[in-house]
Amino acid sequence: MALQCLPLRSALRCRPIPSLRRQTARFASTTPSPIDVAALLSKPTWSVASLLPSTSSSPSTSSTTITSKQLHHLLRLSALPPPSSPAEESSLLASLSQHLHFVDEIQNIDTTGVDPLQGLRDETKQGEREQELGLEALREALGREKVVGRYHRRIRRVRDAGKGEGREGVEEDMGDVMGMAGKQVGRFFVVEGGKKEGG
C-alpha cells in the first residue's frame, strides 16, 4: 500500500494527508482494510416510509392537525362538495393529514439561498438572451402602426379584420365554441345563478 501511495502522493504534489500517513505507517507491513461498504449501508439514515405518518403514532401527535372547519373552508375554496356523511368526513381528514405530513417532511429540507423553481426553462445567460423581447421581436407589431397628423403627430394602431399571430405561428381554428355550450340562448352561454353563495 505504501508503495502504491508514493506515486499518488507525488502526483498530487501536496502534503500527505495525516491520516493516510498514519495508516500507511501503522499498516506498513499489512494492506489497510477497505472501507466497509456493507457496514456503512447496513444502517439506514432515511427511509421513504418517513414520508407517510407511521401507523403506530396517533394522528393527534402530528404537528399539523386540521379541524373540520378548516376542511370545509378548503373544500369551498376548491369548489368541491362538502362531505356527505361523518364517515366520509373522517376519511377525508385522515387522508388530508397524511398529505400534510408528507408536505411537512419535504419542507424540513434546508433550502436557504435556493430560489423556488417555477418551470423547467433554460436559465443560462444565453437562454435568457434568446427569450428577451427586444426591437427585433416587436418589429412586426411596430410595422402595424402608423403616424397620424402632420403638425400634431400621433401614433395609431392600424385596425384590420385579420387575426393576430402568435410567436410560433397562427393558432389553428378550433371552430365554433358554442358547440361546447350545455345551455344557450342565441349566441350566449347561460348560467343559472340561483341564490348567491359566499364569494
Binding site: 375554496l77 428577451e132 402595424r144 395609431r156 394602431r157 393576430g164 342565441g186
Partner: protein, 597 residues
Amino acid sequence: MSVPSVRLRSLKALPALYTRPGYTTRPCYVSKWLQSRGLQVSTAPPPNAVPLRKHLKDEAKRKKADAKAGTGLRRDNAVTARLQKWELTVGIEVHAELNSACKLFSSATAASGDSTAVPNSNVAAFDAALPGAQPQFQVATLLPALRAAVALGCDIQRKSGWDRKHYFHWDQPNGYQITQYYQPFAKDGAIRLSAEDGVPEEDLLGGRSLLIGIKQIQMEQDTAKTTHHPPSSYHIDYNRSGHPLIEIITLPHIHSPQTAAAVVRKLQSVLKAVDACTTGMELGGLRADVNVSVRQRGTIGSSSYSGVAGLGQRTEIKNLSSFKAVEDAIVAERDRQISVLEAGGIIAGETRGWSLGSTETTRLRGKEGEVDYRYMPDADLPPLIIGNDLIDHLRDRLPELPDTTVERVQREYGVTEKDARTIVALDDGDRLEYMEATVELLQPRLLDVDDLKLGKLAGNWVLHELGGFLTANNLCWSDLKIYPIDLADIIAYLTRGEITSRTAKQLLEYSNDDSTSRRVGDLIYDLGLLLRPLSDDEYTELARTIMDENPGMVAAVKEKGQKGKIMWFVGQMVRRGEEGTIEPGKAKEVVERMLAE
C-alpha cells in the same frame, strides 16, 4: 341673372336645415340671421317667447337668491367643520383595456369597447379553457403596455413573472386569472396634476401641482362579459375573456374626492394620448376600484397600505364606471366612515359596492368572506424579459403627452389655457391638427399680422365658430367639408376687412356644401359678398330712419340713460341695411354720436 336672385336661390335651400324633424328651437328668439332674411320658418316664435339673454340672466339671479337663503350655506359649513377634523386618504386601482389586435395569451381577435362583434365569435381554445389548451404570450400586446408605463414615468423591470390568481366564477373559465402579482413589469411611476385638472385648492397646499405616486403597473387578463337576466340567469360572452388589461395602482397620496376623479381623468387622457387605451370609461374600457380610509388629523392610524403607514382601516369600493361615480362613492364612503367612528364604532376592512344614484355604499363581502386567491407562479409561461433597446426605442418616439401639448399650444398660438385644453381634447386630436394647418395657411395670407394673433384667431374660429356651426347643423367633425384652406381664406378676408363677420359665417355654410367646388374667393366674387362700405351720410340716414320710427327707444337712451339700448339700434341697422354693407363698429359710433346730440 342678376346677383341678388342668385343669392336668394341658394338661400332658399337653407331653411331646410333649420326645420328638420327633431331639430327643436328654443322658446325664445330664433336666429336673428334667419329673420333678417325675411324668410318664413314653418312656425313663428311664440308670442310670449323670452329672449335668450334675459332668460339666462333671470336664472342666474334666481340661483343667487336661493343660495343666499341660507340652507345651502349652513350645510356647507357643517361639512367643512367635519373635514377639518378628519383626513381622508384614497388609493386607486385602475384597470384599462389595452389597444391591441389580439388577446394576451391567445391569437383570437381582441374585441374593442364598442365593437359590434357577434357574441362568442372571438374565442380561442385557451379563452374557453378547453382542457389541455396552453397560453401563448402575444408579443404585440407589449407595445401599448410599455408605452403606458413609459408615459407614466415608471421603471420597467427587465424580468417579470406571470402568476395565477385563483377564484371560481362563471366569467373566469380557467378558474384562475393570469396576472403579475409577485413581479409586475413596471414600478415606481408618478402622475402630475394641477388646479386646471380639477384638484381643489386645499390639496395643492400652495404648490403649483400635485404629484401622485404610482406603485406599479401590471398586465393581466380580462374576464368574460356577463349580463344578468332576471330572475337568476346570466348570459355570458367570452369575446372579452383573455383581453389584455393593465392595472395601475396608485399610492395613497390622494386626499380628496375631486382629486381622485381628477387622477382617473388624467390617467385616461394620458393613456389615450399614447394609444395605449383608446376606449374610455363610458364605454367600459377603464374601470376603477378605490380604497378609502379616514383618520383624525394629527393622529397616526394603525394600518399601512402600499408602504404608507399610519393610515386608518380601509375599505375597498369596486367597479366604479364613471368619473362622477368615483367622486360620489368616495364622498359617501368617507361620510359613512366618519359617522361610524364618531359614534364610537370601528371600521371593518370590507369590500363595498356603489351604484349610480345611491347615497351610501353597500356591503359586498366581509372579511370572513375574503377570498383566498392562492397566488402561485404560472408554470406554463416563461418569465417576461424585456430588452432595453425596445424601451429606448419607444421612449424616444413616445407621442406628446397632453400636458406638453396644452402648454405648447398656449405658447405657440397664444390660445388661453381653457381653450387650449378643449381643442387638444376634442375629436381625438384632429381639431388641433386642423387648427395648426389653418395657422400655417394663414401666415402667407396675412403677412403683417403677428403669429400669436393668427393663432388666437384660428383657435377661436376652429373651436367656437366651427363648433357652433357643427352643433347648429347637427353634424359631427368627420362630416365637415370645410378644409383648412377654406377657413384660412375666410379668416383672411375678414381680417383684411373685406367682408363682415356675418358674411364670414355665411361663407362657412357655403363652403360646407358638397356640390360647390368653388374656392372661397370665387364664392365671394360670384355672390357679391364683398364689403361695400357705406359713407357716413348713408349711415346717418339709416340711423335717423330707425330713430324716427322708435321714439320710445330714443327717449330711453337720451333721458333715462340706458346705454345698453344703443346696441339695439346697431342691431336694427344691421338688419335693415343691405347684406354686406353695415359694419357694426362704425354703426355704433354713428348711433352714439347721433344720440349724444
